[in-house]
């Protein structure tokens, strides 16, 4: 039977299975290969908080979505065109989101009476025809085929069955015409000490590929052409990894020692893991006894002249609040990364949300302003981290960098930057030359940035004391003077405002005035950009503005907002940036607020925009 090849612009695939089925790994390999092929891509891992929920249960379903395209794309896709469901629970959880007319590929062997019952199916959906009217359904006996392919390797049936994800991967590689060699190489390295496991997985993957090639079930292959990306060397990058590299770059460029203190918490822990593996760069990591010790140790290191960074999520940021206040008072450089997750309280630890913005802005006692910026994409986490470090040191202030679970675990192709091309990051510690009549004024300030001198222990002549009690202007001595307190509150606020001098003019996507401005911050940038493109393509007078810094806001933001009849602010929270915008500019902005632990889809943004402007 002949096979046809069809060219498509973009595809969204979702791999779903039990937590133990290796779906994140399968998705990861498909992603790496797709990156090498040269497509633009965006990924969205979605896994349960439980380490290992009961096998076959709905709670234990883990999924990984990838969108890849021959065009420039901004999101991991709204609805999957293809769902790979490794068991009934995975089908049950994800089937309703598949595009009508889409493809569902199932491991038929996993649809046992027990698994069907666990997933809440009364009849087998692969046999009862309920899916056939809506989808193209492929039932493949994956478990059986990997058992046959590997029967002579002397491995236990259980271990052999674990290779079924590579069967699925091989099948998808065939359908989308991707090479398998890089995955074979990767297996060889990953299981270097277990050659039989390498062999079993390669056989499973080959079996899947050949199944597509030789059976008559799959008649069509699809190709997705290379995306037209700017020239350069690329790699695929995950947000937390990019962020860690940004911190390392900041340390190298500034010649400061990097001290990272933190306490393990989902989804921020990977930053701790990543930096801990880079000891050869001299990076010091400190797994503290709790979140508070994580940030306070970092503050001690910052006092001593290191580039101090901590990262956390959700409840962790609440615990760090008091120390951030101290950093504001002590005017020491510090970067606090908040990988936002669903809240409140423990909330949804593995799901994404943008609901800590107001906490970042205002969540400390007293008037404690600090700069807040947010990464827009996984790759942008690198640049945002670098920028956060640079601003923290230049202005001698703690900086909050907001990312989120979607950015932290999501990935995209990333043009590898040259360290030499990054903005200058020069640091000088104060020395005896700063003394005025033999006196060290620890709270004297740079005229432009209002930064105070960084005078580190070990510097003769600059012995001085700082602390959380209000400081006297210039001397830094304890002061309860009313006018001094008012002046210092004002000065700390002005220092943060001065950071806006760093920003160039805001870049609007679309016209500078019109019917609607979609305003975004953080990880919703991609969905807002996709929606804006679609709306503009359909002739709507819609523009998009993404803001990187929420504190301070760009100086030209007010002038931009008033040139639009409507302002729409999509956020994965119950309305946070919108409160700031309305409060700051008296603009009647409208919100699109979804708090489902998932990225907002560009379709929903388009719908909200159309409702607003008709």
């Amino acid at each position: 039977m002949s096979k046809t090849t069809q060219q498509v612009d973009e595809v969204v695939i979702r791999f779903a299975g039990d937590s133990g089925d290796g779906m994140q790994l399968t998705g990861g390999r498909f992603t790496e290969t797709t990156a090498i092929v040269g497509n633009d891509l965006s990924t969205l891992p979605d896994f349960p908080a439980e380490i290992r929920a009961p096998a076959g249960s709905l709670a234990g379903v883990s999924a990984f979505q990838i969108k890849f395209s021959s065009k420039d794309i901004h999101t991991p896709g709204d609805k999957p065109d293809v769902l790979v469901a490794m068991n009934p629970a995975a089908l049950k959880v994800h089937q309703k989101e598949v595009t009508p007319g889409g493809t569902i590929i199932c491991n038929a062997n996993a649809f046992s009476p027990k698994n069907l019952k666990l997933a809440g199916y009364e009849t087998n959906p692969l046999e009862d025809k309920t899916l056939d009217d809506y989808y193209t359904l492929y039932t493949v006996e994956m478990s059986k085929m990997v058992a046959l392919a590997n029967e002579d390797l002397g491995l236990t049936p259980k271990i052999i069955d674990r290779t079924k994800n590579f069967f699925a991967l091989g099948l998808l590689f065939w359908i989308y015409d991707r090479p398998m060699q890089s995955t074979k190489d990767w297996l060889g390295v990953k299981f270097a000490k277990k050659p039989e496991i390498v062999e079993a997985n390669i056989r499973a993957m080959d079996a899947g590929y050949n199944y597509g090639e030789t059976t008559e079930i799959f008649t069509t292959r699809y190709t997705v052409e290379k995306a037209n990306l700017p020239a350069g060397t690329y790699r695929n990058v995950v947000g937390n990894h990019a962020l860690s590299m940004g911190l390392a770059a900041a340390a190298e460029k500034s010649k400061l020692g990097l001290f990272y203190g933190g306490y393990p918490i989902t989804p921020a822990s990977d930053i701790l893991h990543t930096l801990s593996a880079w000891k050869h760069l001299g990076i010091k990591t400190f797994q503290a006894e709790d979140e508070i010790a994580g940030i306070t140790a970092v503050l001690g290191a910052a006092f001593t002249g290191n580039l101090g960074v901590t990262a956390t999520s959700g409840p962790g940021i609440a615990l760090k609040g008091e120390a951030m206040g101290l950093a504001v008072m002590a005017e020491l450089p510090l970067v606090v990364v908040n990988v936002q997750r669903g809240g409140p309280s423990t909330g949804l630890p593995t799901k994404t949300e943008q609901s800590d913005l107001l906490q970042a802005m205002y969540g400390r006692n007293g008037e404690a302003p600090l700069p807040v910026l947010a990464s827009a994409t996984p790759g942008d986490c690198f640049f945002a981290a670098y920028e956060a470090c640079r601003i923290a040191v230049k202005y001698m202030t703690p900086v909050i960098l907001l990312t989120d679970g979607y950015l932290a675990n999501g990935s995209e192709p990333w043009q590898i930057p040259k360290i030499d091309d990054l903005p200058d990051f020069n640091v000088s510690f104060a020395d005896e030359s700063i003394l005025a009549d033999g006196q060290f004024l620890s709270y004297s300030r740079d005229k432009e940035t209002l930064a105070r001198p960084w005078a580190i222990p070990g510097t003769a002549g600059l012995e001085h004391r700082i602390g959380g009690i209000e400081k006297e202007d210039l001397t830094g001595n304890v002061s309860y003077d009313p006018d001094n307190h008012h002046y210092m509150v004002e000065t700390r606020a002005k220092k943060v405002e001065a950071i806006a001098n760093e920003f160039g003019p805001s870049k609007i996507f679309g016209k500078a005035s019109g019917d609607l401005l979609i305003l975004s911050w953080g990880g919703t940038k991609g969905a807002c950009r996709s929606a804006s493109e679609a709306l503009q393509d359909s002739g709507k007078n819609v523009s998009h503005l993404h803001i990187r810094w929420i504190n301070p806001l760009p100086k030209d933001l007010g002038e931009i907002l008033i040139k639009f009849k409507n302002v729409l602010i999509p956020e994965i929270n119950y309305g946070q940036l919108i409160k700031i915008i309305r409060g700051e500019f008296l603009v009647d902005a409208k919100g699109l607020n979804q708090v489902r632990g998932k990225p907002i889809s560009s379709l929903d943004i388009q719908e909200a925009a159309n409702t607003l402007i008709g």
Binding site: R235, M245, E289, A293, G300, I416, I419, G467, V478
Partner: protein
């Protein structure tokens, strides 16, 4: 850092800030002894860092003309850890109290001791909350009548020395605010110890808990109520050194030297013996025993910062000095023309 150590006097360690503890507070004596002995420690003063939390004792750094950081309640050990790890050459001192170090900051105290960073902890124990005006503390005795416990406190107290030993401390000592020479020698010993040194200082709060340690400081009776420890020496006390500590099986007993018990029966102090340190620490709060002062326990063990630096050096050696650009270029890459 310079090779030759500058010479200092007490004045060099006295800052220009007016000291603002209550008149008669035991903190004055501790500050004075610290300022007196610091010139003898053999460290350039720019290399001293004092870190404190919140409480009366935590005002201490403001009065020392060294680098200092008065931080937030209970967190001094964690901040000090960051200071030490950022620059292991510094001489880092934590000043804390029974509330700051054992209540709100108890977690950081035990973890500092467990990690054994070369940091010196001075815990001023006055068995009361002074700054907040007189509530009971985690070292107050059961039944203590305070503003927050009008019918007497219910909590059983911590024994700071036992807690330190249980946390894996490598150096545990105690002194008393009024024992000025002894305190100087304990500061010297703390400084000389490589690893976390934990020094409990009995400190009188003459406003909210006056006389908490009068049994141990009263001239008439202190010979009978205080056991001054000397390494390798028998544990003798009493005005004529006529009393001693003897082990009856595993149980310490107070014995009078005379016909029945002689010097050979008295336990000899061994700072490296954990069991002896444990026995000594548990004499606190027991009226039949004297309160031991001096070094209860001192052993050498790797410090956290030394092992951290060793790991960093090992990693550099193994991977050679990589650059961040190498890191960025790692993994599967492809070129778009």
């Amino acid at each position: 850092m310079s090779d030759t150590i500058k010479s200092y006097t007490k004045k060099d360690f006295t800052s220009d800030q007016a000291v603002r503890w209550c008149p008669g507070c035991g903190d004055y004596a501790i500050l004075a002894q610290t300022q007196k002995i610091f010139p003898d420690l053999g460290v350039d003063k720019e290399n001293f860092v004092f870190i404190s939390g919140i409480g009366c004792s935590s005002r201490f750094p403001y009065y020392m003309d060294t680098f200092g950081f008065h931080t937030i309640h209970g967190r001094a050990p964690a901040i000090a850890s960051g200071v030490k790890l950022a620059n292991p050459d510094l001489s880092v001192w934590v000043v804390t109290g029974d509330g700051d170090g054992l209540s709100i900051g108890g977690n950081h105290t035990i973890h500092l001791l467990r990690r054994n960073l070369d940091i010196n902890v001075m815990l001023f124990n006055n068995r009361i909350y002074g700054l907040t005006k007189g509530q009971y503390s985690p070292t107050s005795e059961v039944g203590k009548i305070t503003k927050s416990t009008p019918m007497g406190s219910l909590d059983r107290p911590f024994n700071p020395l036992t807690l330190a030993l249980g946390s894996g401390a490598t150096f545990v000592s105690r002194t008393i605010d009024k024992e000025t020479k002894h305190m100087q020698s304990m500061i010297m010993r703390s400084h000389g110890h490589k690893g976390t040194s934990f020094m409990e200082i009995y400190q009188n709060c003459n406003i909210f808990n006056d006389g908490a340690f009068s049994n141990q400081t009263d001239r008439e009776q202190k010979a009978d109520t205080v056991l001054i420890l000397e390494n390798g020496e028998p544990m003798l006390f009493g005005s004529d050194k006529n009393k001693g500590i003897r082990l009856d099986g595993n149980t310490p007993k107070v014995v009078e030297l005379g016909d029945k018990w002689g010097m050979d029966d008295v336990l000899v102090h061994d700072e490296s013996d954990y069991v002896i340190a444990s026995l000594l620490s548990n004499m606190t709060y027991q009226p039949e025993f004297p309160d031991p002062i001096g070094v209860l326990y001192a052993v050498e063990s790797d410090t956290y910062e030394d092992t951290m630096v060793a790991q960093l050096n090992q990693a550099v050696k193994k991977k050679s000095n990589g650059t961040v650009q190498d890191l960025l270029n790692t993994g599967d890459t492809w070129v778009v023309d």
